[in-house]
Symmetry: C2
Subunit: 214 residues, 2 copies
């Protein structure tokens, strides 16, 4: 049982199995031995394909980010494109919530993150945003989307009303949040996105008025 007649592993198979395991049981469940077992293989065999566990996690994160659609920047105005992109971005993260904490710690050197940043930045500059401001807009959108995908706001609340009544005078209805987690998170995201884009549109107009056209 040393070298098999047909190769047992590929990068793709490992990344797919790792993604499935993290999705199903969380980041902590992903150990090299456990993942290897899932693939019908001994633990250290994975090191033939990835130098470290982090490198493997980066590959998983890269695939997740790679699923974000950025094609709208070619056809829509910057504001509409930003809105559609934010939705796609959030959906991609929400599809794999358990790797978000890992992924969100920095765009890192992940090619998919860099490619995304490139498209967004390029489109904003082309639309007339000053380069420095375009960088800020890209960053702030990432803050908002990553923050919203990171942890449900509503999830923290527990169904026991007694717990809140005593110490938190205004949170008397908070136990209801536990049952509406999804709609609270969605509503907050939509409200925030609307506000953000409306505010950016106003900023953009001010900028254009101050230093018109090119």
């Amino acid at each position: 049982m040393a070298r098999p007649r047909r190769t047992l592993l590929t990068h793709e198979r490992i990344v797919a199995a790792a993604t499935a395991l993290v999705d199903a049981e969380g980041l902590d469940a992903l150990s090299t031995r456990r993942l290897a077992a899932e693939l019908g293989v001994a633990g250290p065999s994975l090191y033939h394909y990835f130098a470290t566990k982090d490198e493997l996690l980066d590959a998983v994160a890269n695939e997740v980010v790679g699923a974000v659609d950025t094609s709208m920047f070619a056809s829509l105005g910057w504001s509409a494109a930003l809105r559609a992109w934010a939705h796609s971005y959030r959906a991609a993260l929400a599809a794999h919530p358990n790797i978000v904490p890992y992924l969100a710690q920095g765009p890192g050197r992940r090619p998919a993150s860099l490619a995304m940043a490139d498209v967004v930045y390029g489109a904003l500059v082309k639309a007339g945003w000053p380069p420095a401001r375009a960088t800020h807009v890209g960053a702030l959108m990432r803050y908002f989307v990553a923050g919203s995908a990171l942890g449900s706001f509503a999830r923290g609340f527990v169904e026991d009303p007694e717990l809140y009544a005593a110490h938190y005078p205004h949170l008397s209805q908070a136990h209801r949040l536990a049952g509406h987690q999804r709609s609270v998170d969605d509503g907050a995201f939509e409200l925030g996105l609307d506000a953000l884009l409306a505010g950016l549109a106003a900023t953009f107009e001010t900028l254009r008025a101050a230093a018109p056209a090119r």
Copy 2:
């Protein structure tokens, strides 16, 4: 060397040492044995004060969130209060960036998070926001602040221009970001906060016009 004449540990001392260790060397450096050594004690002694490592981390996170100032909600209008609170909130997280990934995964049952949510929600409702919307506003602010504190946007970029020129046409100047990490992150936060608050003010007016006063 069994029970000492004077108690060696307290909750406070442990939390303080854990915070210092995480701040100085990162989340991964915090192991029970390492922390215990720092306190001049054997590893398992910590379990007299905290049932699990997560409980200890929650205590650290709770202290960090407890440092956020919410007093402005008593004196300022909702918009100005939200702005000042966001700054305090971000500063509190930025002071301990290494626990942010842990902290951000949900408000959890941490008393400090619940107290903060209580004040914000109460102030917004009192200012005239409909309760459901007030919840959304609190959530979206958390998304933005946590997202901005989670990982520097600029940190991911590397100082080697060659790396970008080839594959990312618009990122040719991206290597400059590495040198201006702080100002990029600050600029993005301020721009986003301005946009968010301007947008929310417009939403608020619309809401008041539709269902005026009370």
